[in-house]
Amino acid sequence: MDADPVLLARLQFAFTVVFHIIFPSFTIGLSAWLATLGGLWVYTGEERYQLLMRFWVKIFAVSFAMGVVSGIVLSYQFGTNWSRFSAFTGDVIGPLLGYEVLAAFFLEATFLGILLFGFSRVPPWLYTLSAAVVAFGTMSSAFWILAANSWMQTPAGHAIENGIAVPVDWLQIIFNPSFPYRFAHMLNAAYLTTAFVVLGVGARFLLEGRHLSEGRTMLRMGIGLAVILAPLQLFIGDQHGLNTLKHQPIKVAAMEGHWDGSKPADFYIFAWPDEKAEKNRFEISIPHGSSLILTHSWDGLIPGLSSVPPDQRPPVTVVFFAFRIMLALGFFMIAAALYGAFLWWRGTLFQTRWFLRIVANAWWTGFVAVIAGWVVTESGRQPWLVYNLMRTADGISPVPGATVLGTLALFIVAYGIVFSFGIYYMNRLIKQGPDAGGHGGHEPGFLSGNPVAAAQSPGRET
């Protein structure tokens, strides 16, 4: 069988990485949210914070498990499908991944044990501290992964010796030109994604008329976060865009669907890029829009796709549409957050049912925006695996295409099963609400006795 191993290896990586990124974008934010709730609980001693924390820990556990198992797959895929890439870049990005495991992953995985099972064994402050340590761990994890990914986008601090990349300056490698923007953009995306999930669940409870106190708390905290993070994300994204224009101009041209670099660029709200004809069809545009955004001048020039031969262009259609999906969802989140803040200020946040209905159904927006953003940045890097250093086609393993196809099918089936059940269980946990198990009211001494035993009653499963 002459299945194209490059395409299949890319498909397999794309599939496994998209599946994986869903969970870190949630657990990075959720662990910070858990630590915040824990802090409020320890500080105020209020029951609702503790109830909320214990409720979200269950959901966290399910999504963390899926994040961990899909992450292990990725860490080995560098070798299985991308062995030539590993041989070429191992000296540079190997240590970045090594630091991720040693400085971040162990921290998360170990203190997770306390967060999930230590409630009756450790005092509240240590329990809360464990949540904070997990939150710090997930954040540092993102730091190292983004450093490695950014180096592949904007390599710096290395030299090529005997056909492999070797480190010269570690600070330049880690803090490569696009790293600060990427890290800030991703971290903010993770917190924003979580804010919208919390918001959605809070709104759902209010609409259903149950868990009202916890629902209001979630709604307030979610809006409070989103109203800061959503506009901030627009600003970070804009800065990131300018950075990309400087270092990966052709990627920006693909995002903009901009072919001819000799004239000012319009911003296309919609268009259908035709890669063969090297122009767009069905354009709806804001004249000079992209020139204004990217160069801050009416007639500013930005490089066009036609300035490089076709074999050096990314897949324009994919990048173009993924970018628009991300933008649209970003603007939706800004609008929802601002309007929510307005309602809160007016004192009608909890009664405006149409608004509650919208946010209750918008819990997924952050996830899709994150995936779309990654598609933009990774597809936009094509045909390079390491920008201007190694082509994607040169990075794969000497493994037959049929094998990659077989294992891709295996991953699709396995992840399909796992993901369906995961969503189903999470949804059920949310349905059960914060006081599932019925240990309402006061919990006497979490150190003595066994408060969780009540939650283990047979009624829980019904």
Binding site: I72, L112, G113, A414
Partner: protein, 336 residues
């Protein structure tokens, strides 16, 4: 070769050796629990078995990532040869670990535990088996041309690698039974004590089979063990193994709780040391040594600085968490 280029790869080989050993011990007993799942019908007892490992398994599995990433960091050219060569067993292991990993959470939130218990048992057993196959595939040698894997796609699939696969399943089950006997009470502990003896016998049979087969099949391994003066230094390895096995049996019979677990760990480590002796200094037998595949000194030093600082911290808080969850599992202890 400067002295730094001489010693750095050695230090790194030792560190990765430690990570792999930690993995075998720690994830070994929790994979073993899954292997033992089919030997009980009661979901309540399975709950009890699972609770002994629930707070730890995630941290335990991280050692596997450290082993894989460590190889990528310190010996990228070995990593790039081994992974494609053992592609299928590696992927099977990963998919098995996916099902096994989510089973921990899904089993507790699902209405019917049976399905996820099955996934946990099958996932654990298959992961253990694949790890044995990977090990066997490595020991029997990997074809390399121009520093790239050049063998056939199923070269790893030999009777020897399958033997190693079954051996590792039995080994993990032994760790699992002795761990359970230490961490549980009542029925589960009693059954674990009974089963431990059978698994111990199985492990000894497999260890003997592997120890006999490798020197017969691989002349380089025979030369390592049976030439003089090596033989004078190496004969204690099998002797100590026999003594530890005897002590382990004795302690299981006497119903001791901690010593049989420690003895099974010791058995594992002895087998592991045996493999290291057989294959040193090859990282990809029979052609690439640790020096052939080593990362540049700059990469190894950069990572070593962090490791010397971070690894003791990791070990410190891992011990702390084991200490927090010390003793027998308590009834009904969970976050659900």
């Amino acid at each position: 070769m400067g002295s730094m280029e001489m010693y750095l790869p050695l230090i790194w080989a030792a560190l990765i050796g430690v990570a792999v050993a930690m993995y075998i011990i720690l994830d070994g007993f929790d994979l073993g629990i899954g292997v033992l799942f089919p030997f009980t019908k009661s979901e309540t007892e399975r709950d009890q078995m699972m609770r002994t490992i629930a707070p730890f398994w995630d941290g335990n599995e991280t050692w596997l990532i450290l082993g894989g990433v460590g190889l990528f960091v310190a010996f990228p050219r070995a990593y790039a040869v081994i992974m494609p060569a053992l592609y299928i067993p590696v992927i099977v292991m990963l998919v098995a670990l996916v099902f096994r990993g989510v089973a921990f959470e899904f089993r507790t939130v699902s209405r019917s535990k049976t399905g996820w218990s099955f996934a946990f048992a099958l996932g654990s057993t298959l992961a253990a088996f694949s790890q044995g196959v990977i090990l066997g595939g490595l020991v029997q040698g990997i074809a390399v041309t121009n520093r790239e894997f050049s063998g056939g796609h199923f070269h790893w699939a030999t009777p020897f690698s399958f033997l190693c696969g079954v051996a590792l399943v039995a080994g993990y089950a032994l760790l699992g039974t002795t761990w359970l006997h230490m961490k549980t009470e009542g029925q589960v502990a009693a059954r674990a004590q009974r089963q431990a003896k059978y698994w111990l016998i199985a492990v000894l049979v497999f260890m003997a089979a592997v120890s006999l087969y490798t020197p017969i099949a691989e002349p380089r391994i025979a030369a390592r063990w049976f030439s003089l003066p090596n033989f004078y230094f190496l004969w204690p390895v099998p002797t100590i193994t026999a003594l530890v096995a005897f002590a382990c049996w004795h302690w299981i019979e006497r119903g001791r709780e901690v010593p049989p677990f420690l003895a099974s760990i010791a058995l594992f480590m002895l087998g592991y040391i045996g493999l290291v002796i057989s294959n040193y200094p090859y990282l990809v037998p029979p052609s690439l040594t640790i020096w052939d595949t080593s990362a540049s000194a700059g990469s190894q030093v950069f990572m070593l600085i962090g490791t010397l600082f971070l690894l003791p911290m990791v070990i410190g808080y891992v011990i702390f968490v084991y200490w927090i969850f010390r003793g027998k599992v308590r009834e009904g202890e969970s976050y659900h």
